[in-house]
């Protein structure tokens, strides 16, 4: 409850409300895009500076491996469920499953905010885990589409290039590295922008995301009640798996919760663009509808507190 009353979440609700009552409120696309780039740079820098302080640890490596494994593996059960229960075509199921294996930067950032508010901060290196989890799921999804959906195989080189040079990966890894190199001292002159302004800007961004998600929910033609239910169930299951894995490898409460948030979140920036390119025959209304219009708001409003609560129960 207390979570729901953070300004960040309230602005998300305000945006969603404005879209639902069909207000003409809209944030210029260039501004929204600019803010999303800013958020990635800020979070990357922050993670890098924290790792520069704490040093590379074995825990970091284990958590990174866990994240990569989740991103690679989660699309498989999701694919099966979407085929069997969701009755999706193989290509569509593969495309959607890639989204759920990958992660949502904004969900993660909102989660970090809420963890910080509750004073159970996650480790700085989770930003690196975030970056590492972005793309393995894309590879899994495409392999599924080729194996079961008859999609034409794309040259492995192209695929690797696209996933590794993807804008969010470049920005997150790049800023993380800058943070690592400059450390706390180099960071302090730019801290007013990347630390001081972070939460305020996040409010504005969630206002925009509320608008975008609710508009899509209102206008999308591809979403059925069954798919909406699946979009929630998959998020919950993945999130729980993430937390459990985190607890199993010995992470603290905040960090295990963060891994749960990552696993439970679904990409709506990097993966859709990759899928539109690699699987043009899949329906973007479907995968954006599920990840952006259902899973994203669900996680912001309900999922994050649940994953945190599970982490508090499971980690001792």
């Amino acid at each position: 409850m207390e979570t729901l009353l953070s300004p960040v979440v309230l602005f998300f609700v305000l945006g969603a409300l404005a879209a639902l009552v069909r207000s003409d409120l809209s944030i210029p696309e260039a501004v929204g895009k600019g803010i999303s780039l800013y958020l990635m740079v800020a979070i990357g820098l922050k993670g890098g500076v924290e790792v520069a302080e704490a040093g590379f640890t074995l825990e970091l490596l284990v958590a990174a491996a866990a994240g990569i494994a989740l991103s690679f593996m989660l699309p498989l059960p999701v694919f099966v469920v979407l085929r069997r229960v969701g009755k999706l075509s193989s290509v569509n199921a593969a495309a959607v499953s890639a989204h759920y294996g990958s992660v949502s930067v904004v969900t993660f950032v909102t989660g970090l905010e809420i963890l910080t508010r509750q004073q159970i901060p996650a480790a700085g290196y989770t930003v690196a885990v975030l970056a590492l989890m972005e793309t393995p799921a894309i590879v899994s999804g495409l392999l599924l589409a080729q194996r079961y959906g008859g999609a034409e195989p794309r040259p492995m080189g192209d695929l690797l290039h696209e996933t590794l040079t993807n804008a969010s990966v470049m920005l997150l890894v790049g800023s993380f590295s800058v943070g690592l190199i400059v450390g706390k001292d180099g960071f302090s002159p730019i801290a007013p922008v990347f630390e001081g302004a972070f939460r305020g800007v996040l409010c504005l961004f969630l206002l925009d995301m509320g608008l975008i998600a609710a508009k899509r929910l209102r206008e999308g033609k591809s979403l059925t009640p069954r798919l909406i239910a699946l979009a929630i169930a998959i998020a919950l299951t993945n999130g729980m798996l993430g937390v459990l894995l985190g607890a199993a490898i010995g992470l603290d409460v905040g960090t295990a919760a963060a891994l749960g948030i990552l696993a439970g979140s679904a990409s709506y920036i990097a993966v859709p663009a990759a899928m539109r390119l690699a699987l043009p025959q899949a329906d973007p209304g479907l995968y954006l509808g599920m990840s952006l219009a259902v899973t994203f708001p669900f996680n912001i409003l309900v999922g994050i507190p649940i994953y945190i609560w599970i982490a508090q129960q499971v980690v001792q």
Binding site: K33, I212, I269, P272, L292
Partner: protein
């Protein structure tokens, strides 16, 4: 009414932004050297309404404008036909006149 200049085929393709490189590669295959990409704001079709939010760029639509010699344009169109449904393309063709026709050979 006769217009100044020389006739060429004008091809306009409404396409999702991530697929533009594919279109450009296809143009190259037909030795069509030039194109211009133009923005759009929103629209409505069988798949519902959309709005450019740029954040979920998968459905950010643009128009690719190509002016080409008719024969080349026809060949390019034949090549693009199989993609129409899967890419969700809207293709408009018309005949226009251009100055400096040698640029659109």
């Amino acid at each position: 009414m006769t217009l100044p200049g020389t006739e060429r085929t004008r091809v306009e393709i409404l396409v999702d932004a991530p697929l533009v490189p594919q279109i450009v590669t296809l143009l190259g295959k037909h030795a069509i050297r030039g194109h211009t990409v133009m923005p759009t704001l929103s629209g409505e079709g069988e798949a519902g309404t959309w709005d450019d939010d740029l954040i979920t760029s998968a459905q950010h639509k643009v128009t690719v404008l190509v002016v080409a010699e008719p024969g080349k344009a026809d060949a390019f169109i034949e090549d693009i036909r199989p993609l129409l449904d899967s890419y969700g393309l809207i293709v408009m063709l018309s005949t226009i006149n251009v100055l400096r026709p040698e640029k659109f050979a």
